[in-house]
């Protein structure tokens, strides 16, 4: 919303104060002011009122005229002018030689053979309206030679307040409310607006008006006739223009002016069309043409203003085309009303039509404002059009009132909330300047909240704190730490495991952490040949590619791999993120925090890559849980899973997730030659597994004995089968078994395992170790393992 400093100063004397500093303080204490401040009239000088004394056709141009202009300096000046509205006796704005208009400095100028010694200006050229249809018309009363700026309020400071920061301040949607803030900030007095006395019309007949639906809280109306003026006074048009509105006609401009001044939207009906005002909703939907010429679908929830049964306006949003002020309107029925904020809001959403009026109504305007707004309107109307005649009394129905709010609190409350001490007198002064009625005795305060703040904004004591502190200034706060006691803080297991996993993956395995989205990007997945699996969907996504939530991070990660194939011949990525696996029994999303790891390599064999991933996972279990993983072969459940070497990952019997190789169809879409493996585990399940902790095993003081077994392994026998053979026999004496050599040909799969024996109590004898080894070899033989003699 644009605000005019001149307008604010109508209501508060700010003379002698730094206006820019005040605007800055307003931004820190009230609402956010945009950075750019406009100094209107700054680029305009030496433009005076001049009278056109003669008009001649230009011999060579149909458009141009040759004028002689009296600019009040005792001589006639030759001017060449292209405006269509030039006529003898007309007074207009004249930029003399040397005058400045924006970037231009006026100098003698040749126009088709004639020299112009100055320029007659349109309002648009002067920057005071958007009217460039002709040169400015100035009323006869103004003496020629007068500087234009001394006649009209051209010089002004305009600043813009971010509408969002006014969401909770219905009282700040007009200059008067803003002026109240400036008065409080400057410590100056707020002047009451000049109003017409409405009581003098009390004997006139009422307007036929009835609220039939309490979505209308209040409706105030009056009828005025014999309106002769059609164009608004220049100063009114300048203010409207500076504040971002177009001048339309006198009556419409005045309603807009009132809205910008008091914050009260008003509507002027042509009284010929509105004789029996009824405010109500209709049972059935219908089509209604608003004054912007658009046909809109009105449903049974939309509150309408009607002439008996004929709708004439959408309440709080926009008037109808049929009842608007037209050229020959001389009698008007004025609406100054208050509607339910939520209802207006919902209607604007349904109609997808937001107006200056609805924007204000949906903030919960003060219903007390409707009558003063009418009084102000009448005052202004008559000020500029002395012949108007009021033909009704004020007709006002106040259906729903906001209950008054009085808040009581003590000094301690303020001290506790602020953490500093703001003395009682300052509190009283601040609140009073904002329109609160304060009673202060001892440490107790009793505060009556003004009507313009109770509609939503100030309803409880915490709200009062804001009023006191914002005017006090947050910059003036002393900053203190708390006095609260300290207690040890323990991290959640999930959180600490998550951080340890990240460290391990980055520092030990040089993986890269990436982030992605919680939904599946269907176009990216489609390019890889991965169908989007059915899952919970977004109800209102605007992007057709993101309809479905992901149930696994892997597909997203494969898209990321595809994106990075050129980054390096070999890399690994991971993400700890959330997925949704359908709905739970309560119909809520079954959300899981998952770790996904994908390794990509153009240089490593699939076997090496697969085991690298297996070891990354094993390392997590070993480092964080002091435990070992087990794997169970499983069947593919997703399009991207290779049917071979797909394994469930288990830790202490808890299923954590799955690891496998990317299905060749999809792998080839990513990179024709690369190998890709993936794993995904549930981080919360992992965190839930017990950390077996460190168990110190005192090293034996007696020598160890090593025994190497070289074995040819038949197909189908797993290492875990071999392991059983020695673990069963070795018992406590077998300290470790590790692969020291492998030898593979097409026919032979040979590994050499070193068994290490030791006892904490004695030196082992060769015979007792040999006896164990013999049994191990017997076990192995039963599994058709051939022992190669050393």
């Amino acid at each position: 919303m644009f605000l005019s400093m001149n307008w604010i100063e109508d209501f508060v004397d700010l003379s002698g104060l730094d206006k820019l500093d005040l605007i800055h303080r307003f931004s820190l204490s009230t609402a956010e002011v945009e950075n750019e401040i406009f100094f209107k009239g700054k680029d305009l000088s030496a433009v005076v009122v001049a009278e056109i004394k003669s008009v001649e056709e230009h011999p060579k141009s149909k458009k141009l005229h040759l004028l002689k202009v009296d600019a009040g300096d005792g001589q006639l000046t030759d001017v060449v002018c292209g405006a269509p509205n030039v006529r003898v006796g007309m007074k207009t704005a004249f930029a003399k030689l040397g005058a400045k208009i924006g970037e231009i400095t006026i100098a003698p100028r040749d126009l088709a053979g004639f020299t112009s010694f100055g320029m007659c200006c349109s309002e648009a050229e002067l920057g005071i309206s958007d009217d460039h249809s002709g040169i400015m018309e100035i009323t006869d009363e103004v003496a020629t030679g007068t500087d234009l700026k001394s006649v009209y309020d051209i010089d002004d400071i305009i600043f813009e307040v971010d509408n969002k920061s006014l969401t909770n301040r219905p009282d700040l949607w007009g200059h008067y409310g803003i002026a109240r803030e400036f008065a409080a900030l400057a410590g100056r007095e707020l002047k009451a607006p000049e109003l017409a006395d409405l009581t003098v019309y009390d004997d006139l007949p009422a307007v036929d008006m009835k609220i039939e639906d309490t979505l209308c809280k209040r409706y105030s109306t009056m009828k005025v006739e014999n309106i002769s003026r059609s164009v608004s006074p220049v100063n009114i048009r300048i203010r409207l223009f500076y504040c971002g509105m177009r001048a339309i006609n006198y009556l419409t401009d005045l309603t807009n002016y009132l809205m910008l001044e008091m914050g009260q939207p008003m509507h002027a009906f042509d009284a010929r069309k509105v004789e029996k005002i009824r405010i109500k909703r209709f049972d059935k939907p219908f089509v209604f043409k608003t004054l912007d010429g658009v046909e809109r679908n009105i449903d049974e929830n939309t509150l309408m203003i009607c002439n008996d049964n004929t709708p004439v306006a959408i309440a709080g949003i926009m008037g109808g085309l049929d009842s608007e002020i037209v050229e020959d309107t001389t009698t008007l029925t004025l609406e100054s009303a208050n509607f339910d904020a939520a209802s207006v809001r919902k209607s604007t959403v349904r109609l997808n039509h937001r107006t200056d009026a609805s924007m204000r109504y949906e903030k919960s305007l003060d219903p007390e404002m409707t009558v003063p707004a009418i009084a102000r309107f009448l005052f202004l109307l008559r000020k500029y059009d002395g012949d108007v005649r009021v033909v009704s009394r004020l007709t006002d129905e106040y259906a729903v009132k906001f209950p008054p709010v009085t808040l009581t609190f003590d000094q301690k409350f303020v001290d506790r909330y602020t953490g500093i001490s703001i003395d009682g007198d300052t509190i009283v002064k601040t609140l009073t300047s904002l329109g609160f009625c304060v009673e202060h005795s001892g440490d107790e305060f009793s505060v009556k909240v003004p009507s313009w703040r109770i509609t939503k904004d100030v309803t409880m004591n915490a709200d009062i704190i804001e009023e006191i502190t914002r005017i006090y200034g947050y910059d003036n706060f002393e900053i203190n730490t708390t006095r609260s006691p300290l207690y040890p803080v323990r991290m959640s297991k999930v959180k600490s495991d998550e951080e340890r996993i990240k460290d391990l993956l980055v520092k030990k395995f040089a993986l890269h952490e990436l982030h992605s989205y919680v939904w599946a990007y269907s176009d990216e997945l489609k390019a890889l040949g991965i169908p989007v699996e059915d899952n919970v969907k977004l109800a209102n996504a605007t992007n057709p590619n993101i309809q479905t939530l992901r149930n696994s991070i892997i597909p997203t990660q494969l898209c990321q791999v595809k994106l990075n194939t050129a980054y390096s011949p070999e890399f690994g990525i991971f993400e700890i993120g959330r997925v949704v696996k359908g709905l739970d029994e309560n119909g809520l999303c079954d959300e899981h925090k998952m770790l996904a790891v994908t390794l990509f390599s153009k240089t490593s064999s699939i076997r090496d890559l697969y085991f690298r991933l297996r070891d990354i996972l094993a390392s997590m279990a070993a480092n964080i849980k002091h435990s070992t993983l087990t794997f169970v072969e499983t069947a593919p459940a997703h399009s991207y899973e290779h049917p071979v070497n797909l394994n469930k990952i288990l830790l202490d019997g808890t299923e954590l997730g799955v690891m496998g190789i990317v299905h060749p169809t999809i792998g080839k879409n990513i990179d024709k030659k690369a190998n890709i493996v993936f794993a995904e585990i549930d981080v919360e399940s992992f965190a839930g597994c017990r950390d077996k902790g460190i168990h110190y095993d005192e090293p034996s003081k007696y020598p160890t004995m090593e025994y190497d077994l070289s074995m040819d392994i038949p197909e189908g026998v797993l290492y875990s089968d071999l392991k059983e053979c020695w673990e069963k026999e070795g018992g406590e004496l077998l300290k470790s078994a590790s692969i020291v050599d492998t030898y593979d040909t097409d026919d032979i799969h040979r590994i050499t395992v070193r068994l290490v024996f030791s006892s904490p109590e004695r030196t082992l004898s060769t015979t007792e170790v040999q006896a164990i080894v013999d049994k191990v070899m017997d076990n192995l033989a039963k599994k058709n393992v051939t022992i190669k003699q050393q």
Binding site: N480, E513, H515, L563, L583, C589
Partner: protein, 350 residues
């Protein structure tokens, strides 16, 4: 002196001096001093000599023996030294300037910034909480004093899900749960609630260099008997100064958020110009960083905490924004791009 001894000594002297390595030298030692060595045989031949002669001869042989042992010992040391010298000479000189092949992993920049913030708050006694991404309308709005049709819902374009839940549009969605989790300890034992909860938020809006539909925030709350606005400013200033590792000036402006009262927008002095005004801060000297405020009494009440007895502050720090400011990331979309060219640069950061 016996001629044999003299001859042997001369012979030994030249052989020892000529020995080229330790192995050769050992053979010489065996040749003279071994069981069958020439000196040993001299001793053996002594039994044939007369007693008188034997005594003199014996003394000379012993001398020779000592001499031989000493010479061999000396030569051994010489040879060992020579061998080490050779080994040193044999060591090739490496080009230390060849590129190193160290492979570094990387953290997502959000992780780094998040950890920095978490560390600071942990050191001040805050617990770190985790929260789901899918939440209910109650969690995200109702419990936060944002009833249905409240205009504040307009401020955020929320992603709703087909089951009626929604993707949390703000980390404040966890506030109610946190208050309920730690409220009893506050009420019963006087343990203040101090918690931060970093998390991912979602807004249904078009993306560009400055806007993302998915971003990270870190919410923080503190509730105790006398928590004040002054405390809030202290914590925000301290935390931000730690994050940016320099003294940061902060300022509060009134800001409207239904879940706080009073509510503020917190600005920090521009990191680029320090407050004098530059293009990054649109010449204002300030950067808008973080909404915050005193927790609204209705929100405390909804969390089971009596607002007449307790007060608290809450803030919602934009982690994504912070990461961008800290690392000079200009396009917000880089963060979720999955591009290793961009994101592999973020090795660990303190």
């Amino acid at each position: 002196m016996d001629e044999r001894i003299l001859k042997l000594k001369e012979e030994l002297e030249s052989k020892v001096s000529e020995a080229a390595d330790l192995m050769g030298l050992d053979a010489i030692r065996v040749g003279y001093l071994g069981k069958k060595g020439s000196i040993t045989s001299l001793v053996k031949g002594m039994k044939d000599l007369a007693a008188e002669q034997r005594k003199t001869f014996g003394a000379e042989v012993n001398k020779l023996k000592e001499y031989a042992a000493q010479r061999i010992e000396e030569r051994t040391e010489e040879l060992k030294k020579k061998q080490i010298e050779l080994e040193i000479k044999a060591m090739p000189k490496f080009d230390i300037t060849t590129p190193s092949a160290c492979s570094c992993g990387s953290y997502h920049p959000i992780t780094l910034v998040q950890r920095q913030c978490e560390r600071i708050f942990k050191s001040m006694g805050f617990t770190v909480e985790d929260y789901s991404e899918v939440v209910t309308d109650y969690e995200c709005f109702e419990s936060l004093n944002i009833p249905k049709h409240h205009p504040a819902r307009d401020m955020q374009d929320t992603y709703y899900l087909t089951n009626g839940q929604l993707l949390k549009s703000q980390t404040s969605a966890a506030q109610n749960a946190i208050l309920r989790k730690y409220g009893p300890a506050l009420i019963e034992n006087g343990t203040p609630i101090r918690a931060i909860f970093p998390g991912r938020c979602f807004r249904n809006e078009a993306t560009d260099a400055c806007h993302e539909n998915t971003f990270f925030q870190m919410e923080g709350v503190m509730v105790d008997k006398d928590i004040s606005i002054s405390n809030l400013i202290y914590f925000m200033k301290t935390m931000l100064s730690e994050v940016f590792r320099k003294d940061i000036r902060v300022r509060l402006r009134p800001g409207f958020f239904p879940f706080v009262e009073p509510g503020f927008e917190l600005d920090i002095s521009c990191l680029i110009c320090g407050g004098t005004g530059c293009p990054s801060c649109k010449h204002s000297g300030w950067l808008e960083l973080c909404p915050c405020g005193m927790i609204h009494p209705n929100v405390l009440r909804e969390g089971g905490i009596d607002p007449d007895k307790y007060t608290g502050f809450a803030f919602g720090l934009g982690l994504t924004r912070l990461a961008m400011m800290k690392y000079g990331i200009k396009d917000i979309r880089d963060l979720n791009s999955g591009s290793l060219k961009a994101l592999s640069q973020f090795t660990d950061d303190e």
